[in-house]
Symmetry: C2
Subunit: 225 residues, 2 copies
């Protein structure tokens, strides 16, 4: 059986699984791709600036065991219905391979870890190993009219996010929009309907606690880590 | 380092590397995905009919050695210019991972190898191992306005294909359109300008020989294998 080895790692603002956007491109945070030896060379990415988007094939590296289950419970279905693992993008899958489309923000050939690619929209845990990077080719990869099954419109069940005035000052003003964006996509693991329950997740330098009642999410605490 | 194991194999009409379309979706041939144990179960694909397209992550299995080169010579650039391997979809890449989008034609739950998924547009060698199958989600995967760098418009340098009357009868009339389509995309390994040279490739049950002069490709022989 083939062994695969990381060609790079990606450094993101998501230190824990909880709170990572459910797909790529949903939140515009910037991540950094740093190559491993022997791929840490400008030659390996020569010409990449001609593209706007990249595919990353990466490892769900927190899943130490390969999943043996043929079915998973997609959060979008409320976490109760079971679907086939190959009919979902679930992280719990046979070879632990993830696939994400990210937008190239810029390349840096001058820093100590050069070349580095900064990308936008990665839905990936901080420090994740990358197995391959490929340019996005719209003529073969873009199918805007494809049917998206039960995944449906990801934006249709967004939450309204409230951050009270005394709490909002705990975060840098420039970080607030992305925090709101992540929260609006409902980072709860499964749909749960307990308005008293307090959820906690980490993003960038913050630990953020919140409650959800119906379709309204209220932040109750922001701590700097 | 993680080991990955095939979850399925794909059976296509392309018995050799030469002549395979350069990307998925360019030729509408039908291929068949057959699962390996323990994934050969209707449970593993439950719900997949809700999607129109799938991602396949597969192995460039003819490349026994992992490529050590950081650069490749894309056929689209005439085979002379070198580009970074991560700026191309070249088959010669670090972990030999391929990525293709295919369209679901139908599923079959009744045959001996069931469940089987028939897909359209695979640019993959017959018998190739598949490491993962994921549904295509247009809201995160479709970026029709992405910039496609030097790959440009794949259809801009199509060849005109001529199959003389006595030769065209050697193939089933229903196979002619797809043979023409494959040939029009110029299956020559690199751009070469030798109008006398005869190229040969296999497709489905045929061995097809042809010549290319300027932008005109002339078929000189079709044999049934």
């Amino acid at each position: 059986m083939p062994e695969i080895t990381p060609v790079a790692h990606i450094y993101t603002l998501f230190p824990t699984k909880f709170g990572i956007p459910r797909q790529s491109g949903l939140v515009d945070t910037i991540s950094k791709i740093v190559f491993t030896s022997p791929f840490r060379s400008p030659d390996a990415i020569r010409g990449i600036e001609g593209y706007s988007h990249l595919w990353l094939i990466w490892e769900f590296s927190e899943n130490k065991e390969k999943s043996a289950s043929l079915t998973v419970r997609p959060p979008r279905l409320g976490g109760n219905a079971r679907m086939g693992v190959f009919a979902t993008r679930s992280p719990f899958r046979p070879n632990n391979l993830g696939l994400s489309c990210v937008e190239i923000e810029r390349t840096d050939y001058d820093c100590t870890e050069a070349p580095v690619i900064y990308v936008k929209g990665a839905d990936i845990l901080d420090g994740t190993p990358i197995f391959d990077i490929k340019p996005y080719l719209p003529y073969t990869d873009a199918h805007p009219d494809a049917e998206s099954g039960f995944s449906g419109d990801v934006f249709s069940n967004c939450l309204e996010v409230i951050i009270p005035g005394d709490i909002i000052n705990e975060a840098k003003p420039s970080d607030i929009p992305v925090i709101k964006e992540i929260l609006s996509q409902d980072p709860r693991p499964h749909y749960q309907n307990d308005p008293e329950r307090i959820y906690s997740f980490e993003f960038s330098r913050y630990r953020i606690k919140f409650r959800v009642s119906e379709s309204i999410l209220t932040v109750v605490q922001i701590n700097s880590l």
